[in-house]
């Protein structure tokens, strides 16, 4: 008679085998990808590219690293995000520190 524990151990062994096979798959494919990644790097160098072509619907999501602070708010600073891909991305970190404040406020002492 088959015991439940035998089925359980067989299932676990099968799942572990599948996970190990996929680990080996990952290691092999990432090693084989070397020339393809080198080719992509060469394309970036030759064409002086700055971004991945992930979202083509808006300029600030197509070239996230080149975007400025105003582009996502085409109509007004309070406008809602217009393009779906804009909600997938957080603004690049460097945007917050680059634009120097050009406005000064002097308190009027009464």
């Amino acid at each position: 008679m088959h015991r439940h524990s035998t089925h359980f151990f067989s299932c676990m062994a099968a799942l572990m085998l599948a996970a190990s096979t996929l680990c080996v798959h990952g290691l092999l494919v990432s090693q084989w990808a070397g020339p393809s990644l080198a080719q992509k790097s060469a394309l970036v160098r030759t064409l002086r590219l700055t971004d991945l072509c992930l979202f083509t619907e808006a300029s600030y999501t197509r070239h996230s690293s080149m975007a400025d602070l105003s582009t996502p708010f085409q109509d007004s600073p309070c406008a809602f995000e217009h393009f779906p891909s804009g909600s997938l991305l957080a603004p690049p970190r460097h945007l917050s520190g680059v634009h120097p404040s050009r406005m000064t406020v002097t308190k009027n002492d009464r």
Binding site: A19, A42, T46, L52
Partner: protein, 377 residues
């Protein structure tokens, strides 16, 4: 040793038989639990692989790019700025980079025109990305047309289609000669899109960027580290949809754990009471509950991560495609290189399997330490 193993096996036999008696409930629990792990691992596999690939290929991005801003938006930059920037000590070269967008109203797609610095295509011809070739059904030798800035049609012969393997970088690119692009876009000869700098010492990137901003206050320098950090930040766990998915999964998991931790069903209490009445020790009951938690959570973890891996690296993240596509009609078809971070997997394991197993044991421990008579009553 054999005696202990046999004892554990017998408890597992009993635990699984007990789980099978509540097939519907436990089956649903396993499916939902597996789905949560599948979703979490898919997001982690996808974002990590994308970040690693971006970090590797964008290592070759320009060292410093200088944009000009006007009214808070970037504008074409005068070529005369290049001569002024070149005077800054440490700057080796300043080259104009001409590129721009084109909206194709017929195909509702956005293209990116790029003018290669070296070996541009001959006048009257273009090299197109494979995404555009597929969208417009164009192949080498075909004529492809665009509407110029003045409304006049402009046509070019397709010289070449960029390799499909590089779609993640080039699906929407159109390489064109400078004179053709200026005629198409109307950008005057004394302006370019931005400037690309080469610097002698990479430690001086930030200092040179600061000097540029002081010298030309209407410019914005972007250094390579910032480009690299962009892809690290935009797909970090705190960004956009990633945090939405993580929060939903975490909330669903908290509901599970809460349901388990707050108490046992009348049937489960009765079962523990009977086991105690027939002579099971409290430790045996706790061991049974430990195995119950482990059988469900370990099965869900292994199944969820295996399915997540297959989904992202073999199935090209098919479930994420509609979300990533948004409204774009031009979308790259790409297979990510399976860079797996085992640290992330260990974190999922620690945050799901361990708490679930513990929350299965705690309420049973309370019942198991009670007198069987009072439990059965």
């Amino acid at each position: 040793m054999t005696g202990n193993f046999e004892r554990q096996r017998s408890i597992i036999d009993f635990t699984i038989a007990s789980l099978l008696r509540r097939k519907g409930k436990n089956g649903a629990l396993l499916v939902v639990y597996t789905l949560i792990i599948f979703l979490l691992s898919s997001v982690i596999f996808f974002t990590h692989a994308l970040k690693r690939e971006a970090a590797q290929v964008l290592q070759e991005a320009p060292e410093i790019i200088v944009q000009r801003t006007l009214t808070g938006r970037y504008q074409p930059i005068p070529l005369s700025y290049a001569a002024r920037i070149r005077e800054i000590r440490g700057v080796v070269s300043v080259r104009p980079r001409l590129w721009g967008y084109y909206y194709d109203g017929n195909f509702l797609a956005n293209y990116t025109f790029v003018i290669p610095d070296e070996f541009p295509p001959p006048v009257g011809s273009v090299i197109i990305g494979s995404g555009i070739a597929k969208l417009r059904e164009a192949s080498p030798g075909d004529i492809i047309g665009f509407t110029g800035y003045d409304g006049k049609p402009q046509s070019y012969r397709v010289k070449e289609v960029l390799a499909e393997q590089s779609q993640l970088l080039s699906a929407d690119l159109i390489l064109i000669s400078e004179s053709d692009y200026r005629a198409l876009s109307g950008i005057p000869a004394d302006l370019t899109t931005d400037l690309v700098l080469k610097v002698r010492n990479r430690k001086e990137f930030a200092t040179i960027a600061e000097k540029i901003t002081k010298l030309l206050p209407d410019t914005r320098p972007i250094i390579r580290n910032e480009i690299l950090r962009t892809y690290d930040a935009i797909f970090s766990w705190r960004s956009g949809i990633v945090i939405v998915i993580f929060s939903s999964a975490a909330l669903a998991f908290v509901i599970f754990a809460w349901d388990k931790a707050t108490g046992l069903s009348a049937e489960e209490r009765k079962e523990i009471g009977i086991l105690k009445a027939v002579g099971w020790e409290s430790s045996d009951v706790l061991l049974m509950k430990f195995w119950e938690g482990l059988v469900i959570s370990l099965s869900a973890f292994l199944l969820g991560t295996v399915l997540g891996y297959i989904h992202v690296f073999i199935g090209s993240s098919i479930l994420f495609v509609p979300v990533l596509k948004g409204w774009s009609t031009l979308y790259p078809e790409f297979k990510l290189v399976p860079f797996v971070d085992f640290g992330h997997l260990a974190a999922i394991f620690a945050l799901t399997v361990v708490p679930y197993t513990i929350t299965t044991i705690i309420p049973s421990w309370r019942v198991a330490t009670m007198d069987p008579d009072s439990v059965l009553r």
